[in-house]
Every structure is written in C-alpha cells, then in structure tokens.
Symmetry: C2
Subunit: 347 residues, 2 copies
DNA sequence: TTGTATGCGTTATCAC
DNA sequence: GTGATAACGCATACAA
C-alpha cells in the first residue's frame, strides 16, 4: 500500500512561482515580504498578496539564512537533558523563542563536557543566530568568547570563566540565605550542606560559598559543614548523614541542605535506607522543588527555582541582543521561593 | 568593554577558499568530500586534504540542504515537553540522531494540539529530512500523510488515524496484562484503572482496552472499573478512591492502576489527602516508573517503560527510511518491565 | 517604484 | 580525472 506515487508532489511554491503568478519580478515579491512598510504600489501589492495566499507561499528559512545571513534559529546547548532543571529551562526558552518566531535547535552534551565545542560548531553550521548555554564551560572543548563565531550568547545557571556574555540564573546567595535563615529560626544548629562535586561549576560554588557565609553569620551558635557527594558513593553519604544524626541526638537539632534536585533525591534515598525521618530525626531542605516533594514523608521543604522564567528570560535576553541591543554583559538573578513543608518544621 | 571589534573575524572557510588554496576547482573539492571512493588523483587528493585541514574547512549544512536537498536535520515534535516520558524519548532519539550525524530540531506543542500542522510546516521549512512525532494526531491542525511534504515520519506512543508510518511504542497490552496479573495473583479482586481522558488518544485507549480484557479474563472472580481523571477534578478522584476503599473494607482487596506518570502522581497525592496507605489500605501499581517511586510509602510498584530505547528505536527507524529502506509501515512494540515494590505487596 | 543581475556555499551536469 | 557552470531559493545593490 506504499502507493505508486502518482501524485507529483507540487513542491513548495518558491518566490519565483509567486512572481510569475503575480506578473512581477522576484525582487518585487521579496520587497513586498520584507519591506512592506515603504516602497509599495497599491495594485502591485494587491496582486502579490493574492498570489502569495493563493499559492500558500512560505519563504524558505534556509535560503534566507544562506542569503541574508539570518536563520531565525537559536542554538540551545544543555549539559544534560536528563536534568529536570535543564528541561524546565528549555521549556521556557523554547516558548519565548517560538513566540518571537524563532526555532530552537537542541544539542544535548549528555554530560560529555568535551563535546561543548563540537556542539557550538554543529549549531553554528546551521547559522543559528545565537546561543543559549547551560553547560559547564569546562573540559577539552572549552569555548572561549570567539568560538561563538561572533554570535551572541547567554549563559544560564553556570558562568564560564572569561566569557563576558549575558547571564541568567537563580539568585543563589539570596536563596541560600533564606533557606539557612529558615532552618536557624526553626532551631536547627547543626547544618550539613550536601552538593555535587564543585569542580569549578559556578552555581555549585556560589551556593557553597553562600552556605559558608550564612553559617559564619550565625557562629558560634550554629555549626556548618559541607559534603561533596558523587553518584557512586552512597556509603560516604550514609556516613555523613549518620554522623549528623549522631550530633542531633546529643541535643543539637540538625538539618541537611541539598544543593540541587539530584542531590535532594540522593539524600531522600539515603535517609530512607538509614531509616531516618525528615523533620523528626533530621531537618531537610532541598534546592529545586520536585513534583514529589509534597508526597514524601511529612512533605519536603524546598527552594523552588523559577526555572521557566529563567529560560524565558534567557531567551528574551538573547533576542534583545539580536535586535541590536548593545552594552555590557548583563546579570539577571531571579529570586527563588522557599516552600516550607513538614521536613523543616518543628520537631 | 564591548571591544572595538578590531578583529575582522576570518569568516568560515568556504569550499572556494579550499579550492583556491589547493589550486583546484570547487568541483574537485566537492568530489573529494562526497565521492572520495572513486575518481581520485593521488597528488590532487593530497593537496585538497591538506587545504581542508589547513583551513579547518567544514561544509555548510545549510548550503548543502539548499543544493542537495538534504539537511541532516530531524524534526521532533512533542505534544508536551513537560511530560517526562517525552523528555526521555527525546533523549534517546537525540542521541541516536547525533551518533548518525543528524541534529534534532525540537518543536514543543505545549499541549496546543491545533499547532501540529504549524509545527510540521515550520520544520519542513528547514528541510528536515524526516519527522519523529509524539503528538495526539488530533485537533484543527491535524496532519495527514502528505502534510509531511513527502518526508518520512515515525510515530511514537500515539498512532494517528490514517497515517501509515512506522510506529514505536510500549507493548501496552502485554504491560497491562503483566500488571493486572500481578495484582490478581497478589489477591486483589477489585481493580480500578485510572486514566487521563481517552479523547481518542491511542495509547490511552489501548491500555484501557487491555485492562478490560484482563478483567474479563478473570471474571467473575475479579471486578474492574475505569475512571477518567482530569487535572482539575480532584474531588471526583477522591470519591472514586474512597468508593474503592469502601469495597476493600468489605473484604475484597482492592487496588488502583494508574495509566501514566501524571495520573500516578495525581493518585499518590489523592491518597495522601485521604490518608490511605499504599499496599495496606489499597494496592497501587502505576504506569511509568518515576524516580521517586522507591521513596514514597512502602515503595510504589510500577511498569517501567524503556523510554530511552523507544526514542532510540524511533530514530533508528527513521534513519533506516532515510537510507532508502522501503516496505510497509512497521510496528515496534517494546516490552515494559514490572517493578514490584511495597505498594502491591501483601496486605 | 520596479526589474535586472549577482551572490550566499554546495552539488551536479556537463564539457574538456 | 578535472574544470567551468548552472541550479537551489532568496535578498539586495544597481540600473531603469
């Protein structure tokens, strides 16, 4: 039933078809489309317009890109599409781009940081007008300002050393301060911050530094510690939590802070393994507010990031640059929201 | 510090540059690149090769697309990028495409089913070589076989009426049978299947039908019911669960089956509201195996879909068609895996 | 105001 | 074997 393909598919109408149908030149059609504000002859315009709708003509973005240099394409590179944060950002950015008539080309590094440059080049090949980067900015394929082929870029969540481009992210310092303050106010005195290995990732370092500042501001009343957790080191994490719990039993209320959604899940799993109860045995506040936060135990307190707004803002930022906005690199820090649930309540 | 832009960016090398550098014609360079197997002159080949690496020449995919008609682009349209299922599929597909030298252009419908045709056209404008569709196949912008501009497509998870293209999905019937069988074996006699509104979505209908078949196969020992849950009707869901629980208290063990991840979350939230405990008060098995399944209550039993494999398979399918594979539309049904946890255990 | 001619970077069809 | 040359679909100087 694969059909004998008798219908000689009438191939998309080109500008030449429209020109012929309207009895004008290709240039006229092109002008009608691009510079309709000025240079118009009433009757000709009408003829062209008719032909355009008649033939359902749509310009070929590829030809336009080749000729005019603009593709109306935005390249979006994410370190790891598995990360819900990246997906949420993607979602916000994609919507903003679509609304502005741009399409998003996605390149997922799959956590292979050495492919960053490869990604840039692949995307640049398609003449993307700009980049949105949610990557590490490290590794062999490290990109510098001019690996970007002169195209504008905006960094999301993670800064790259030596790249002076617009930057959009959560206000990490403020968010961490809110979380710590909440715990201290709630009577917690032993704080453990668990993060993925810093590895020079700016957002992880900023949060860790902010944690240190918060603890320092309350010393010596409050004690704080940082633990770097990798995915394959469950034992280490368990030990850290057990040690924390031990201190809690000595009378000082203890709480753990998770540095992002991945760690939040990891900690939740570890506490389940250890039989520790949120809020009762140990307080718990996580970064990112996963959909399951309300369902687990007494509910998980968390710092919700405005992920979609971050994506939208990043896209908007980039689009403004594409429209010619000049000036120094901007930093847009969006506020997080502390959602209090049972895991950090009285206990 | 925006730089005085003194560096006259050396613009990407073109095939003409390579030709000049090697002292040959553009045609020769093009042949060297595309048809290297035959028609080669040893010395010339060497000169071209040198020039290519020297200038770090990379062909422009856009120009290639314009000229040769192929873009090495795959258009991926998803109904809703918020759905973790879609993301997982995306991930698998994107990886397979990248490995084959293709890039993925993503278009997210944001659940606006009327934009399906718009999406197709936008992507077709960029000369994508083929489509991967994870959409409803319904609504105003309904696409028929030849809205695809003659390009091959593969459907994922949801069939479209009247489209005879390759189709990749979970083996819904087998998965449902496994889940039901597991519950019946476990002594559950009152089964409630909760699904999102069928609305003609093929996967939902297939699962619902399979549920009906399973119940029928065990009648009259087992009784089954179906409830369609919308996002804004928490009360109805609560009532359905309460009714089920009432039957359970009359001595017949009852269990709920959730039709997908969204419903699974909805049901979990409802049971928390109602104070019902998985496994004890009511058995619970969900479709899709969310990351939090092990953490909630005694652990949530679930049918894990091989989402990444589904995405990979879809991409492979499409790439095969692009390589000229003929023949009737294929159906690839991948097996799910029942992961048993506490929620469907003894009670 | 409108038409003509040229270029964007490739591939393919011809001659040579 | 290799080199001109004409497309591909569009935008834009330039000429009219």
């Amino acid at each position: 039933m694969s059909a004998a393909a008798p219908a000689p598919r009438p191939a998309r109408a080109t500008i030449a078809d429209v020109a012929k149908a309207a009895g004008v030149s290709k240039a006229t059609v092109s002008r009608f489309l691009n510079h309709r504000e000025r240079l118009l002859s009433p009757d000709i315009a009408a003829r062209v317009e008719a032909a355009v709708t008649q033939l359902a003509y749509t310009p070929s973005p590829m030809a336009q890109a080749l000729s005019h240099g603009r593709s109306r394409l935005i390249g979006l590179i994410v370190a790891d599409i598995t990360n819900p944060y990246s997906v949420a950002v993607l979602r916000g950015a994609e919507k903003a781009c679509q609304d502005a008539g741009y399409l998003v080309m996605l390149f997922n590094l799959g956590n292979d940081i050495d492919r960053e440059r490869e990604a840039i080049n692949a995307l640049a090949g398609y003449q993307v007008d700009g980049f949105i980067l949610n990557t590490l900015g490290r590794g062999a394929g490290l990109i510098d300002a001019d690996a970007l082929h002169g195209k504008p870029a905006v960094l999301v969540d993670r800064r790259h050393a030596g790249m002076h481009t617009d930057f959009v992210s959560l206000d990490n310092a403020a968010a961490m301060k809110a979380a710590c303050g909440h715990l201290v106010d709630g009577g917690y005195r032993e704080l453990l911050y668990i993060t993925e290995p810093l590895k020079g990732v700016s957002s992880r370092r900023e949060r860790t530094a902010a944690f240190g500042d918060c603890v320092a501001a309350h010393e010596p009343r409050v004690a704080g510690e940082v633990y770097e957790s990798t995915g394959d080191d469950g034992d280490g994490l368990d030990a850290a939590l057990r040690a924390l719990h031990k201190r809690a039993k000595r009378g000082r209320r203890a709480a753990v802070l998770a540095g992002n959604a991945v760690v939040t899940l990891r900690v939740a799993a570890a506490m389940a393994r250890l039989g520790l109860r949120f809020g009762e045995d140990i307080g718990f506040v996580g970064f990112d507010d996963p959909e399951w936060a309300p369902l687990i135990g007494p509910g998980l307190s968390a710092i919700a990031q405005p992920t979609e707004a971050i994506g939208r803002t990043a896209a908007t930022c980039l689009l403004e640059r594409l429209q010619g906005l000049e000036g120094p690199a901007r930093q847009l820090l969006l506020p997080g929201e502390l959602v209090v649930r049972g895991s950090s309540g009285g206990g």
